[in-house]
Amino acid sequence: MSLGYYFLLPVIFSFLTPYFKKLGSFTLRGSTILLMLILFLQTLAYTGVTLPQISEFSLKPPLGIAFILDGYSLLFLLIFTFSALIVSFYMVWFFKANKGRDEARFYVFFNMLIAGSIGMILSCDIFNLYIFFEITGICSYALSAYNKDKLGLESGIKYLIIGLIASIFIVFAIMLIYLQIGTVNLGLIAQRFGQIDPKISVLIVLMLFIGFGTKAELFPMNFWAPDIYQGSMASVNGLFSSVVAKAYLFVFFHLFYLFGLNSKYMLFVMVIGAITFLVSEFTALNQTNIKRLFAYSTLGQLGILFMALSTNSSATVSGALFHLTSHSISKLLIFLALGILIHKFKSAKIDILGNFKSGFLTIVLAIGFLSILGIPPFSGFVGKILILKGFALTQNYAAIAFILLVSIVEAVYFFRLTAMMLDKKRTKISVPIGFANYVVLSVLAVLIVLFGVYPSLLTHYTDLATNALLHPTNYLNYALGVGL
């Protein structure tokens, strides 16, 4: 299958949605599940082939448009398709529980969102990347405002305005690149980036940094992010946290390493990541809204990832990618589980965690919490220890101390929530969960444990990804059309 279908199939399904809707909601839901299943299985199939893979359209690169799948994007592809599959299962329950919602509208944007995110990580020219960026953006604005209530629309508007700002920076950067180099092919850009006038290149880098950094929720540009999470549905939050934010992060570091930025930039990104981590974790302590709280937690984890990914040491980066995967799974689990509670209690106050009665939900949520905190034997632990190990190898003890100290702050609110769940003195109301959710949440929880006790399953892919990210020679050859 050509890589193009990763983009094409969701788009086709998205356009067919009105017809599916006419055929009934079963078809609508089923078709999306089918689509995501196909994508996921296809991705699994790609794990067996030699990488990178390329699919060009009409012309060979560097002139034509092409999709390239290397180790780095394979990892993200796995995460995205898997998350999408999980969410599409979850939405079956959601729409059953919430009768009378406009299902078609959700699925249109959902499919397109996945198409856009996947496009972003596969595309090998910067302009296509921008288009996918915008597609992802538009779909996220729409999904964020899906509820069409006051809060939903407010978050949609906020997200849209921020998206506009980010896209102006990125368009500007792309134009400058084209003016300087005369190409949009990533391979050529990477090759010739060093020849640009340093002042212009600083400007380009800064603009890309601001553009993608804003979307990837880095500190001084992330004042909007918690609002968006608070206003959107829990399942959409799960998508934002484990797919959309990760896609922007992917692009950020893809460009970062392709352009071969020097250690000053690395230090800068690391400091920014650290500040993001610090501020978010502290702010999270003060939250009363559960979705908002986990939004801050997501920001914090992104902070760690930025810290670790900007080190250019394969040990740290590999750890960070492991952590990223584990975080995606855990956050998806948490947000989906919260969705069930929020639906039941019609409220997103923190107290709902103390008022439900369901051993299953308690266990899966606890697994999610412990995993994010990096406590063995859950997958977050492996990620965190790999990151710390990486920092230790470069003798960056300050980073280790920083991460560990702030992690204690993180533990404060995670365990406050856990203690609320376990508190027997509160009035407890039993929560119906639904068969689909039992399956979905158990799969996620089992994965978290599995990656925790048998990390080799995942380290194989993170090592591939690290290698592809830090040594993009193969990728460049393909992007330049040399190897074809």
């Binding site: 508007i157 506009l164 102006i168 134009m175 949009v184 609002d227």
Partner: protein, 125 residues
């Protein structure tokens, strides 16, 4: 006199100055305006400035538009087609975002009667 205007240099200068003016008008708009519609319009102005800038800089005197018709027999002596294609796409995207933004704005206005973006702060700490 007119030849002066016909030189590539001059045209580029005019375009740069003009697009910069436009850009800063847009910039001024988003920095000061709080009405959602005005903000969106300001963004559009900024984007337009970028488009103008980009397209304009790729125009050179004596080159023809990259459209295959009687004037263009060989693929030489024409303006670089890539920026034009890019800008066309970007315009479409911009339009889509603008439309979405306006529709959000309208819905929001219907619900709350507000369109001041600085007062959209029900989502906050």
């Amino acid at each position: 006199m007119l030849e002066f205007f016909n030189s590539t240099q001059t045209i580029h200068t005019i375009i740069i100055i003009g697009s910069m003016c436009l850009f800063f008008i847009g910039f001024y708009g988003i920095a000061t305006q709080k009405n959602l519609v005005k903000v969106l319009v300001s963004f559009d102005i900024m984007e337009s400035a970028l488009f103008l800038f980009f397209i304009g800089l790729h125009y050179q005197v004596g080159l023809v538009a990259p459209i295959v018709d009687s004037n263009l027999k060989t693929f030489t002596n024409m303006v670089d087609p890539v920026p034009q294609a890019m800008i066309l796409t970007t315009i479409v995207i911009g339009l889509a975002v603008l439309a979405l933004g306006l529709s959000f704005g309208i819905e929001y206005y219907k619900l709350t009667g507000r369109n001041d973006i600085s007062k959209m702060n029900e989502l906050r700490d």
